[in-house]
Symmetry: C2
Subunit: 602 residues, 2 copies
């Protein structure tokens, strides 16, 4: 009855991407670095164009089927949707497993900034499909950086080629986010490999029938290892192990499949290693350093979680925009009824436009954020020493923001897309509810929002005596100067200038409490601090975008694109930046309600 | 593998209810009114005790099954879950269809305030099950108030007895929220009834196999009626019509069932009247007054939507509290590891307690709000003339808040409950995701949040020259006086005092713009205004609750209950009240970003 109409969903605005990449953040300037000297805006655009095409023509049309019919768990194996079998080779062919890796390992040596934008398109279209290759890329990259020659020869190339897939097997049922409590045991064997024994849970793509083998990058403890995080090692544990005569079963048992509420095309499984005492793993890097290796990968993954959040908010934004332009309902407040007495499209109601503009501000603010963060990743790896140092500090600082803002604000944005659809939005005949479900995972995986807040305040802003925060302040002030030079609204500049000063002072106060030994006092408002820092960061990026848009708008006032960018910046800066003083006061006040609250009193 | 553990979910805290009903809002004082003279705290508690028991022992245990296996649409009929057939008579036996109605129609003449609290328990347990009787109560009440003698004799008693059920058949596919665009046609017949022809959508409980008949209270237009809202009449349209020889089919066709994402035990259908020209409806009240009749019912329904929102947030809060007390993960920030080196329950992490306390503040703030609003409904109907007038103004004013706050903040609260469960919360092995889905409907049905904002600012606060707002200010100031008298934190009193002054001034300015003919300017920030007004209202109620709790706490400092109430009030007042100046500035600034934004520019 309510037939779902497959809309011409653009997923992400191409023009907004061009604006962000080349007019605001100047990603093409990366080509001046030796690592990207073979590239140019043309090669970037070729890659993006291929990603867009795959997203729009293959991934998005498959989304609904994959959401509706999740993988099945049959006789201990996971069977994926047949449509995924058609998509997988196309994702591999686009080079997604090694797009940012050097040509030496078959990669395209593309900047993370460009790759991240491609991921936004692909994630907007179909997060689950992207998941298989994203996890494989992470696993292969770990082997490339830390693996033995044998791992680099036997396993890595099969991952980069997409012949096999990879996973990140970190979480265990009893430990959850507390990786220091990982218990999987590894006993050395005489041949240099290890016997693995343990249970893992929430392992995405931990089983499927897309490829002949799966390599788990698993955390475990070598017998006799020190307790806690300093005794954790990283192992490559293939589902089937390579032998002289081919692949053999490696005693990895899939013990169950979790019924996730979103990303339903990507299975999440519980598995165990060594139920029959015959599971081999190969140590990656040195013993007891597994957590530090994994974190290197995880930091990259956190930016990609941000990209997933932006993509999921973006596709829903464009769907609700389409709906709001089409759906007639009600009449204008202006009491100037249309001559024909007909209803007006709901986009003509101010509050619907508010919900759309709020989504646009979150989606494009998120795009600016993840792209800027990925650009720092590129500079931190490939520029001159001093530039690398600075970019590395900014990358570390912004990673928890880039991971969290799109997830938390994206969830709000996705709820607005549903709301615009009214009663239809509350039905699974339409897609906004599916994207809302997808989005929620981004506040949980790769470190929950709570963990990101602790990382930002407890580690990142105080690292190197506050060096990163000082550099961040310089970036913000440079933007304010540019904004002044094109005569942007001085109220915005003043508010952002005050915000960065007050944030810096507040941070020093909180760090002082920490140095004085009161970690509880320092970190009590870490969630509010993360919210505060996110608002300042995205306001900075919107001010930068507005400064660029203002110049272009002055040059051609008839171009609605720049007018819209200016209004979106205005919406964000007028609505969110004034929350800064209140959040600063809250973090400073040390409102101690939940510190005081006893568990038994709830 | 992940077996769901049925927890001892209390659904709602009984002690919080006693506190709110009898220590803060003094619902027992209603027994001094003649209408409630047969009642006492004892009879109230007997009713609540029965509701609690039914909620905990029958409704909640059935929730999961009803969510997992929604009604089926087979051969044009809707078949509900068998477990619902066992629940329905128990809901009727509790007297839920007519609990607040006079004994003359078989009711218990209970105050709305008490009934609303019962609904919070029942809604926390199983919203869908409650839906069948709630809709029947609304339909029967409309017939009682406006129906002809024939309707009161033939249909009303069968609804009140639960022999049949009722619906509200307002929405049409082409009109949505715009009820002025209802097109269902009604042609007078010689026997005084009407021939109905038209389509309805999103009709909850519009078909099922629980009872022998269903009576739709439907909006339509009598042939020749004036256009717009002034030409809409209300009809009773039974699925099967009573004749001298019994019930006969009445040409009501169920054309489809909507796949709702929540409230999945309650079918929502599309239906049509008179596909074969043989559908009879009976006019309720006078022609063309249907919308005003329906709104009388809808205002009551809006408070009950608020109760649904509170209940849904409450059950999830208690589940996450239970989980946080049980789940060991990580170690204390204090670097004082437990002697046994074991992990600590996550409730010992400050940020988890923040998420719990925020939920508690929203849930119990919502309870205060819906109970206080329902209490005004009781006074507005049953007190002396002057008291009635005042209560009626306050009831009208607070209804959009009571409808919206639990829905919008409850959604946030439900997301926090999911977040506390981490990866498990993202699976349908656990229930928080189901309650998150349930909650979302409350921002849509019975008038979307956008519509409530327009109602509050465009109608309620300006009615009678601002009389309601002036009365509201008196109530707030009386609370501030009480708070001072027990030496509550003067910062809170000052902040609330400033808030009500500034809110009043802002409202006058916006009303002025409206009077000057600029409705767009007046209503541009209606969503922000609703948010602002909600914060002030709930802060007022938390201050009142804190004043009571402070007295009790002084009397017995060892009782953690009052200490917890004070800390919850502190959390709310320290976190939310400081947002008032920023929201006032926003409403006043007339940030015109979305007013300026052209539909084609997005």
């Amino acid at each position: 009855m309510l037939a779902w109409r497959m809309s011409e969903n653009v997923l992400v605005s191409d023009r907004a991407i061009d604006f962000i990449l080349y007019e605001v953040l100047h990603l093409d300037a990366l080509c001046e670095l030796p690592a990207f000297s073979e590239h140019s805006r043309e090669t970037f655009d070729l890659f993006l164009q291929s990603a867009r095409r795959l997203a729009r023509q293959a991934l998005f049309p498959a989304y609904r089927a994959m959401d509706t019919e999740p993988p099945r768990f049959v006789d201990g194996r996971v069977l994926v949707h047949p449509i995924m079998k058609a998509l997988y080779p196309q994702l591999v062919a686009l080079g997604l497993v090694n797009a940012t890796r050097p040509t030496a390992v078959g990669g395209q040596q593309l900047p993370m900034g460009i790759f991240t934008v491609a991921e936004v398109y692909l994630g907007a279209a179909n997060l689950s499909a992207l998941g298989y290759v994203g996890l494989t890329a992470g696993a292969a990259h770990l082997l490339e950086t830390f693996g033995s020659e044998w791992l680099k020869q036997e396993l890595m190339p099969r991952l980069y080629s997409g012949e096999w897939t990879g996973t990140m097997a970190l979480t265990e049922p009893q430990a959850g986010s507390s990786l220091a409590d990982v218990q999987t045991a590894a006993t050395p064997r005489s041949d240099g490999s290890y016997d693995l024994r343990g249970s893992k849970i929430f392992i995405s793509a931990g089983d499927h029938d897309l490829t002949a083998n799966i390599v788990h990058l698993a955390l475990g403890r070598i017998d006799g290892a020190p307790p806690g995080s300093k005794g954790i090692s990283l192992f490559a544990v293939p589902q089937r192990r390579p032998t002289a005569t081919g692949l053999e079963p490696n005693d990895v048992t899939i013990t169950g499949m979790i019924h996730k509420i979103g990303w339903r095309g990507l299975p999440s499984v519980a598995l165990s290693f060594g139920d029959h005492g015959d599971c081999r793993g190969w140590l990656v890097g040195e013993p007891h350093k597994g957590l530090s290796y994994m974190f290197q990968m995880m930091n990259e993954a956190r930016i990609l979680v941000g990209a997933s959040g932006v993509g999921t908010a973006s596709v829903a934004y464009h769907q609700s925009l389409d709906y709001a332009r089409d759906r007639p309902q009600g009449r204008s407040l202006e009491r100037r009824p249309r001559a024909d007495g007909a209803q007006i499209p709901i986009i003509e109601h101010a509050d619907v436009r508010r919900m759309l503009l709020r989504q646009k501000a979150i989606v494009e603010g998120g795009l600016l954020l993840v792209t800027a963060t990925a650009r720092y990743a590129d500079i931190s790896q490939h520029a001159s020493d001093e530039e690398r140092r600075k970019a590395s500090l900014l990358l570390d600082l912004l990673t928890p923001i880039a991971k969290t803002f799109p997830a938390e604000r994206g969830f709000e944005s996705n709820a607005l897309a549903l709301q615009i659809h009214g009663g239809y939005g509350y039905s699974s005949e339409y897609l906004p509810e599916a994207w809302l479900r997808d989005q929620k995972l981004n506040t949980i995986h790769e470190g929950t929002t709570g963990i990101q807040g602790l990382d930002l305040l407890g580690r990142k802003v105080v690292a190197g005596g506050g060096a990163a925060l000082a550099l961040f302040g310089e970036e913000v002030r440079a933007t304010i100067t540019r904004a002044h030079s094109v005569n942007l609204n001085p109220t915005w500049c003043k508010a952002l200038s005050d915000a960065i000063e007050d944030l810096t002072t507040l941070t020093a106060e909180l760090a002082q409490a920490g140095l004085a030994g009161d970690a509880n006092r320092m970190l009590l408002h870490s969630a509010d601090y993360l919210d505060l820092f996110s608002i300042v960061t995205v306001s900075w990026l919107w001010l930068e975008a507005a400064a660029v848009a203002e110049s272009k708008h002055q040059a051609d006032p008839s171009d609605g694109f720049y007018a819209a960018m200016l209004l979106t910046a205005q919406y964000w800066l007028a609505t969110e930046l004034p929350r800064v003083p209140q959040l600063i006061a809250l973090c400073r006040s040390a409102d101690d309600s939940y510190a005081q609250m006893q568990p038994s009193w709830f």
